[in-house]
Point group: C2
Chain length 281, copies 2
């Protein structure tokens, strides 16, 4: 598998690099970003934090706006940010060109319905194909963490909960916590997965957490002035599932914060430390 | 003068706010951004750092990408980011719609030539009108610092050097150091100021520094892999002027860094500390 370099920027003594490659999971060309801290050039094997972005994002939003590189450089964390959906002229999007389905809105699942099933397999891409590429091409320790925002928070939770043993740390910002029961999730799941709601349960973090056997401590930050909190995000459902099943979930309701990257940037440091603690231990 | 709030995001315990107002200097509506650290709500009078962005930018680039809020919150610095030119349907831009002149490229000077003279008075806006607005509406101490990037680095240097006593601290990232003698500057100065190069000297940081009497210590960071270094930026001319006139200029050539916000974010902390030291002393 060849990686074609797209761009390279020195950042906090390390490097922000973007690569293009042909994805066999998604049947299209994909671009991802990686932040390599200075330690990556010093022969040290480093843990990797996978960051999954939200609706409409690409690999660029987090790397440009979260301000994560400073602490990643200090902690010696590699950060990998994939795109949020398959891309390209051959990939079908939303029939109405909406922003909450299709391109930029892959929902980190494996679609079963036409015309999406051939390309929309972001779960397999994020969990298997991309880590294999990263682990073949960069100085990694083999430890993996995963985090994300909104649709990407849902993605991080679901990727970790569906694949026990694969991630050693987990967190999320304002995740879509119960996608089966919110408008964004209902639209996406019905089209990607079909009308049988029993199938939806396999991709819903709150359902999966209730049944999970692996006990990863989960950190979730949520702004209490987030416009999507009540209708789309519903962290209280995730919290109830954690409580009922005895999982360790730290849900922090942050007063005054909204859904933007200003919110993420304000708390990314705590998340990086949460991951580094588990990944470097 | 009324300020209309455009948006408001909580950020590192403080607030990122954007305002629209009618500018009397520029004869158009303008938007600016302000970062108010948590101390602004605690009855403390705070110093203000003015940040001037580069070509094609608005008030948003720095606030989204520089990662300055974390340390500004810690240091108790207000940061104000104006737009980079007058805006609106009534404002003439580049006749060829180029990105290096006109809209997004006001060069922080007062134009004397038609059709630009009525609107392109960014110097007066940045040095007088905007600080008056800030000082009437926010809890400020009266101390002012100024910094910027590329065209905005030129702007910061020129605003401070033309107005001794008005700023108590000064720095720049990759400034256009000798605009009279580079393609970006020659294009802008000839159109905004006319063909008489004697007039251009009043807006060239290297010329102004050679003649300056005020002795502000200046911090300049410059990436040595910046594509614009040799043709457009020329920090060596500024350095020679500083040396000849006995000014304190710390020019740091940062190995491997380019012209992007990844470069700015990597060193913004040093600049904020440089300003805070002078502004809070």
């Amino acid at each position: 598998m060849t990686l074609e370099i797209v761009s390279s920027n020195k950042s906090y003594g390390g490097w922000h690099k973007r690569y293009r490659h042909r994805s066999t999971s998604l049947n299209c060309d994909m671009v991802f970003a990686v932040y390599l801290p200075p330690q990556a050039e010093q022969g040290v094997k480093l843990p990797v934090l996978y960051w999954l972005s939200g609706l409409t994002c690409t690999d660029e939003n987090f790397m440009q706006k979260a301000g994560a590189q400073r602490l990643a450089a200090e902690l010696g964390l590699i950060i990998v940010a994939p795109d949020t959906s398959p891309r390209g002229a051959e990939v079908p999007g939303d029939p109405d060109n909406a922003w909450d389905f299709g391109l930029g809105a892959g929902f980190y699942l494996n679609a079963t319905q036409e015309p999406y099933a051939r390309h929309y397999r972001m779960h397999d891409y994020v969990v298997h194909e991309l880590p294999a590429l990263i682990e073949a091409n960069f100085p990694v320790s083999g430890k993996r963490g995963i985090s994300g925002h909104s649709m990407g928070g849902h993605g991080a939770l679901v990727c970790a909960l569906r694949n026990p043993g694969r991630y050693q740390s987990l967190s999320a910002f304002a995740p879509i916590s119960n996608p089966m029961a919110c408008p964004w999730g209902e639209k996406a799941f019905s089209r990607y997965l079909g009308d049988d709601r029993a199938r939806w349960r396999e991709w819903d973090a709150s359902v999966l957490l209730a049944e999970a056997t692996e006990r990863l401590p989960i950190l979730v930050d949520q702004g209490d002035r987030d416009d999507f909190l009540a209708t789309q995000l519903k962290p209280e459902v995730l919290q109830a599932a954690a409580k009922a099943a005895g999982h360790s979930l730290t849900l922090r309701l942050q007063p005054g914060y909204d859904h933007s990257y200003y919110f993420i940037a304000s708390f990314i440091g705590d998340h990086l430390k949460h991951h580094a603690e588990a990944l470097k231990g």
